[in-house]
């Protein structure tokens, strides 16, 4: 594999001798040469696109050179827990789109499944290659002050972000080799191989392709970088067509090449204008029929949204018991469903200290912290919950363990989460790294790149 690289945020452009962390963590030699890293970052210009006031801009994703450290022991249990969780989620998806035993056996009330906007009846009865629905799962975790890891959410619709720590590692090894000779860090540069193995495993004959909405998409860098590393063809929808229920790539000589596995980032509802949203201009007509006929694998499978829904999250530990007969290794954040009597009672009594999520709303919309509400608003909210109990879930607010970051040369503590990547192919494997995102704002719980946050590399120690 070739050397590949990242960038750093602008603040680091100032020359400063940066010596990082040490005492709080188990590593021996800190990352050095932050300035040189910075120069390499410039050179390799890794960017992500965002729209600000309707204008497209390419920004550097601020990189913090202090890595998150996960000890070998911690990782072993996280790894086991993640494999367990993703295996159960894949079994759940298969069940929901086939026999629905988990509903028949009263483990999950059917309303929670069928009112989810991620549930797509059009996918009923389709069996993806090797029954894998979520090939790439991004599981967001946080570490609490009690050192316990909690699952925040599951992302089963092609989660993005792996390319950043991947390229950052490459770079840090060049600029700060001693950190790697002195510490036992598991090499994370096998991500492309993990991804390619997964694509090859489900490939229905033909080339692997990565479908991108184009250069002006936030994840464009990731798409093109992963295409390069996995040897896939980077394609846009107008280069593709379905003929005889086979997906083809149009070539410049007027020929066509069969696509056997399609990694895609566009949402299910825009995937095929002849099956889903008819006005979609970014989809591929009749892709769903090619998929149904078993001629192409779609990575990740359409319909996965039903399993990473806010309302379904509560049931994942139950799924693990139901499908695998095992106790969940990783914990959910303590969650309550007002739908159940005892939970409702608790939620109404403790509303002021809980965070409430509207299951019908996406992302950060519909998330309310009870502590932000006035007495009057709290009462009002209680009535809403009583009226529509199945619309909400309530969670305890987790006290995150803060991580050190460099802010203008000074080390400060900030909230951070971890997106772990789990790849399902012949076996389910956890990438020994992950994307650690932190918030720039000291009071913010939101670790989001569009809010000015940045990312860190995640070092898993080998012993």
């Amino acid at each position: 594999m070739r050397l590949c690289f990242v960038f750093l945020q602008k603040e680091f452009a100032v020359r400063q001798e940066v010596i990082i962390l040490a005492e709080a963590t188990a590593i021996r030699t800190p990352v050095s040469n932050a300035v040189e890293i910075n120069e390499l970052l410039r050179r390799y210009g890794v960017k992500f696109g965002i729209y600000k006031n309707g204008v497209f801009k390419e920004q550097l994703f601020p990189f913090d050179p202090i890595p998150r450290i996960i000890t070998a022991e911690d990782f072993k249990s996280i790894e086991k827990g993640l494999i367990q969780r993703v295996d159960a989620l894949n079994k759940f998806l298969f069940d929901i789109y086939h026999e629905k035993n988990i509903i028949k056996d009263n483990v999950i009330p059917e309303d929670f499944v069928y009112i989810s906007s991620g549930y797509l009846p059009q996918c009923e009865g389709i069996s993806p290659v090797h029954d894998i629905y979520s090939h790439i799962s991004g599981i967001d975790l946080v570490q609490g002050k009690d050192n316990e890891w909690y699952i925040l959410e599951d992302n089963l619709r092609i989660p993005s972000g792996a390319s950043y720590p991947l390229i950052a590692r490459e770079l840090t090894r060049v600029a700060s080799p001693s950190a790697f000779t002195e510490n036992d860090i598991v090499d994370n540069r096998n991500y492309a191989k993990l991804l390619k193995d997964t694509m090859d495993y489900v490939n229905c004959g033909g080339i692997n392709a990565i479908l991108t909405p184009g250069r002006y998409n936030a994840a464009y860098f990731e798409h093109s970088y992963l295409a390069e590393l996995t040897g896939s063809v980077l394609v846009q929808n107008d280069e593709l067509f379905v003929e005889d229920n086979i997906l083809y790539h149009k070539t410049y000589t007027g020929g066509k090449a069969k696509i056997g596995a399609l990694y895609r980032r566009i949402s299910d509802e825009y995937l095929d204008p002849l099956t889903f949203e008819p006005s979609s201009l970014i989809g591929i007509p009749n892709l769903m029929e090619a998929y149904r006929s078993g001629n192409v694998a779609i990575i990740n499978a359409p319909g996965n949204g039903v399993a990473d829904d806010k309302g379904i999250y509560y049931f994942v530990p139950k799924m693990i018991k139901y499908y695998l007969g095992e106790e969940p290794i990783l914990k959910n954040a303590p969650t309550y469903l007002p739908f159940y009597d005892e939970d409702r009672e608790y939620v109404l009594e403790n509303l002021g200290k809980l965070v409430i999520k509207d299951v019908a709303e996406a992302g950060v919309y519909g998330v309310v912290f009870g502590s932000d509400l006035s007495e009057e608003k709290l009462e009002e909210f209680k009535n809403t919950i009583l009226r529509e109990p199945r619309r909400f879930i309530a969670q305890e607010v987790i006290d995150f363990l803060d991580l050190p970051i460099l802010d203008n040369g000074e080390q400060v503590m900030r909230k951070a989460d971890l997106r772990a990547f789990v790849l399902s192919g012949a076996t389910t494997r956890v990438w020994a790294s992950g994307l650690t995102r932190f918030s720039r704002n000291p009071d913010s719980f939101v670790v989001n790149s569009s809010q000015g946050g940045g990312f860190k590399d995640t070092w898993v120690l080998s012993r």
């Binding site: 009846p121 009923e124 008819p278 029929e289 006929s293």
Partner: protein, 262 residues
């Protein structure tokens, strides 16, 4: 039981050349306990290679891709079917209990449901559906100009006008508000020279048809082409094409004739 000869054709013309035309047709009547297909032929002009699959709702889907330039696409499906509307069909799907894109009720529809459910004394799903159908037919006026294929139940209800598609969507919406599972049917009926639409109600063990446009039960002179949550799942033809056309014109004709009783 009746034997029906059916013929359904559409002629799609464009005012300029189009190319890279992908289409999906749901015009081959599906086989079921109530509908036995004795023969069925599909002709498409210009010639194009096609594939047939069965979608999640049990519909036959014919897909094709016309790469070169063309200005029209015609297809005709004809054949013969044995219809027994009393036979039991049990292909239930849970999604039929929930509102879908076209049937999402607004305040007015909820109010309408509230009102009619108060006056309806029936308790069986099918009888309630007949009851709602009656109320609906008193309120609505059949009007071919008022709505189009994109009109939702709420929009048509506000106009109090529409065609079979709108009648069906409104009925589906109130039935689902009532907790009754039901589905949209696109097909051919002897009363309609184009495609017709009606509703099937899940009575707890099988499907039973109601034609809200004509406020009557469905009999052996209805041929099902496709079924789903609403029109969106059932469109007899859907297509995507490229070209500098500004207009497309679609002519649909259908004939359905009984050719004998059993």
């Amino acid at each position: 039981m009746k034997k029906l000869n059916f013929c359904f054709s559409t002629k799609l013309t464009f005012d300029n050349y189009v190319r890279e035309h992908s289409f999906a047709l749901r015009c081959i009547p599906p086989e079921s306990a109530a509908q036995h297909i004795l023969s069925c032929e599909l002709d498409i002009v210009p010639f194009v290679s096609t594939k047939q699959t069965v979608d999640a709702f049990g519909n036959n889907v014919i897909t094709g891709y016309l790469k070169g330039e063309h200005r029209f696409l015609d297809f005709e499906v004809k054949g013969c079917a044995e219809i027994d509307s009393t036979a039991q069909k049990r292909d239930y799907m849970p999604c039929y209990l929930y509102q879908s894109a076209y049937t999402k009720p607004d305040a007015a529809l909820k109010e309408f449901h509230h009102r009619i459910s108060m006056t309806c004394t029936e308790s069986e799903p099918y009888s309630r559906a007949l009851c709602f159908c009656e109320a609906l037919s008193q309120l609505m006026t059949y009007d071919k100009q008022a709505t189009d294929t994109k009109t939702t139940a709420a929009e048509a209800f506000e106009l109090k006008r529409g065609v079979c598609q709108d009648y069906s969507h409104i009925l589906l919406s109130v039935l689902r508000l009532d907790g009754i599972a039901c589905r949209y049917i696109a097909g051919l009926a002897s009363c309609d020279g184009e495609t017709h639409a009606w509703v099937e109600i899940w009575d707890g063990c099988c499907w039973r048809g109601i034609d809200p446009t004509n406020n009557c039960a469905v009999n052996d002179e209805y041929l099902i082409l496709s079924q789903g949550r609403d029109f969106g799942d059932c469109a007899v033809d859907r297509g995507v094409m490229f070209g500098a056309y500004t207009k497309q014109l679609q002519l649909i004709t259908s004939t359905l004739s009984a050719n004998g009783y059993y």
